[in-house]
Assembly symmetry: C2
Homo-oligomer: 443 residues x 2
């Protein structure tokens, strides 16, 4: 066996207790935001028929997947690279009997057979929320607001993260107003998408190929970099680009509803947000760190054709995906993950100590199990020492809230209870240990 077998496969992670506490902390925020916003949790297989992914994304995706076949089997499978095809398949199978809109969330593991990079691993976790069967700005913003709620619960603010929003219909009307012919709309959107990757002269040359005049190219260039807070009137943005504010009607609808929800300061309009052209059909958005230096924390939008693609009826849909890796980096950079997870571990309610003696040795395991059966988080030491001071030190290292010490008082049915935060110690009846520890003065 090679020594590499002693390590996790490249691009995957071992989650030791403190590492997992960080992941659980993030997942708890995702889950509570989802539930509070009325989404129901679902899950699907970790691997699917390979065709489920090629149907949506074409054969080109195969090289980005971990795919396999069972020995002697006939089907090709792939580890899921995204969760939306599973959602669409599950909805298509039961479209007639699900309450509309279907509001689902999931926190599955995902897999990509690419070279690992900062913010991009071969196995990661992704929060997915989807609203299927409803259309309009309120439903798009229901998804976005849920994403914002989770970030708020993790301690992030609009000074840390902005949701950059665009809308296919608004962009199409803007492009027409700038003079882009209808058959060049898709090319123009591709160019918007690539704005940050092209040199200015290259960008101008490609804009010219869209059939734009010199003036049109200049305005298209302004538009491609145009971004402003959703709190500001869209007429300002339209004026900067030199088009009528009417062209941004779809964005204005999002703006009006975001104002009602009280999330305007979290949102920006960003004409350069394009995302998958063959896939998204209306609102598109990405969650970015304010610096813009990192990968997007989340992305999503409206995709009205997806359920139909997997054999279901035509159903409008809007969704969001947010991975754990970039988010955890953002939290860590802002010191929102104290001690890299150690203090996120659940604190023991009580640490039970034997001060020695036959009675204590016999009583300790009994008491520990009674307390655990009562729903208390109980730890004890497996050391042979009966030095109470040393064992209290271990209790403190375990971050226990209290210590129960079985000592000489056990002879008349009493034990010592020490509050490890305040240091206060008192004697209680052994028979009342559960009641005291579960009561308002206890755990």
């Amino acid at each position: 066996m090679g020594t590499h077998s002693f390590q996790a496969p490249k691009g995957t992670r071992d989650f030791y207790p403190a590492d997992l506490a960080v992941r659980r902390h993030i997942e708890a925020a995702w889950r509570s935001a989802s539930v509070d916003c009325g989404f129901d949790e679902v899950d699907g297989p970790t691997f699917e028929h390979l065709e489920l992914y090629t149907a949506k994304s074409g054969e080109g995706i195969v090289n980005e997947l971990f795919s396999f076949r069972r020995a002697g089997g006939e089907s090709d499978y792939a580890l899921r690279p995204e969760f939306t095809p599973t959602v669409a398949r599950m909805i298509a199978a039961h479209a007639g009997s699900l309450p509309i809109p279907v509001k689902w969330f999931a926190i599955p593991s995902m897999f990509r057979a690419e070279r690992p990079q900062r913010g991009r691993l071969r196995e990661f976790f992704q929060w997915n929320i989807d609203t299927v069967g409803a259309e309009g700005a309120p439903h798009d913003l229901d998804v976005i607001a849920c994403g914002i709620l989770a970030l708020e619960r993790l301690g992030l603010t609009p000074r840390d993260i902005q949701v950059r929003i665009s809308h296919r219909a608004a962009i199409a009307r803007m492009l027409a107003a700038l003079g882009v012919p209808a058959d060049k709309t898709a090319d123009a959107m591709t160019l918007l998408d690539r704005r940050d990757k092209l040199k200015p002269e290259e960008f101008a040359q490609r804009a010219g190929a869209l059939g734009l005049s010199a003036d049109g190219i200049a305005r298209f260039d302004i538009a491609a970099r145009a971004t402003q807070s959703l709190a500001a009137p869209l007429a300002d943005l339209a004026a900067k680009i030199g088009i009528s504010a009417d062209e941004f009607a779809a964005l204005d609808e999002l703006r009006a509803h975001a104002a009602r929800l009280g999330i305007l300061e979290w949102c920006s309009v960003d004409i350069g947000i394009v995302r998958g052209l063959a896939y998204y059909t209306g609102t598109v958005f990405e969650f970015h760190e304010i610096s813009g230096a990192e990968r997007a924390l989340a992305g999503g939008g409206r995709y009205d054709g997806l359920v139909e693609l997997f054999g279901g009826p035509k159903m409008p849909a809007c969704g969001l995906g947010m991975g754990d890796v970039v988010l955890a980096n953002a939290l860590r950079d802002r010191k929102l993950l104290p001690d890299d997870g150690a203090t996120l571990l659940p604190r023991p309610d009580v640490f039970v100590i034997s001060a020695g003696g036959e009675a204590a040795e016999v009583e300790l395991p009994r008491l520990v199990m009674v307390l655990r059966r009562a729903g208390l988080h109980v730890r004890t030491s497996s050391k042979t020492t009966r030095n109470v001071g040393k064992l209290l030190g271990d209790a403190g290292k375990a971050r226990a809230r209290q210590a129960l010490i079985l000592g000489a008082e056990l002879a008349d049915g009493h034990v010592a209870l020490k509050d490890l935060d305040s240091g206060a110690q008192r004697t209680i009846a052994l028979a009342e240990a559960v009641a005291v520890l579960r009561g308002p003065l206890g755990a």
Copy 2:
């Protein structure tokens, strides 16, 4: 795309909301029992180097695994069929810096490329708890008691489930006392393991091949089927087999400690529990339905050689694995999963209804977001009807605890709050909605 692509792969599951609520219910019992018993949660990669599994189980395991290689890659990977090799690898990598004993739990998904059967799927979830670095009956029973605690929290009792326990050292001494030569001990254990699969005459013939006399064969046959409550004295069992009770010293130690923990009635001695011969080194156990008709719910024991196998120091270890499939069947058979999960879904704290009118339509989305930001589970309707009776019906179907109705009273800043369990309705100030709903009389 073939129509089979619209289905989950054979042997895997789609978890619709009520299905996932059942899984989460089981996982919550596993997790709370683990935490209360002082285990820390860990996780590892969903796939590992294939060699991690062949190192432990030999090349023969390859046909039972989903294995694959990245396009252009050089490593063979396999979806994890069990979690223990990952635990051993992770401990071996940091053996010097982990607190001893290492007490870890995990709830990973597992994969087996076998033909699916009742209680055995290609993807399932398994609870793992492991205590590494400590030996002795108290540590073995720490693991067993944690398993029992989880079952208790799911509503199961010793009348439903028994933990069948054996011990390698006790069995070896029993076999010697019956006249099995030392070099035939492993063969004899293999025969014990197969007791239910062989016809009586075949069993007797193989027992003879162990070198046993006619009397020895008869007593071995009794031993192979011997089982009794751990609450009964082991001398009874020894007498039945015709050996000295001293041979069962290792089992008696388990019995004494189980008595202290108060779990005797959950446990039986079962000489026929063998499990992997090359793997387990002391205590072995299986959790079974009382009828014995189903597969084991859980299994485990002491395996002192494992960490060393993966490059770490020699460390004693004991662990348990419990899958979700057989357990869910046991709960379902006993009506311990009401409504197949629907009533396990989280109940909305409040369902917000607009009775119509411009003010209510504007106020509703604002209020919904305010309540969600306050940590309340809030649902609303996306229907166009403003018939309050119909919408209250939807609130009831959603199992909401209360309904907030935005109606005419909104003009002077009031809303109606209806308790959907009692039917009681009152008028409250809109400004106090959060305080009322979060207070002791609210959610």
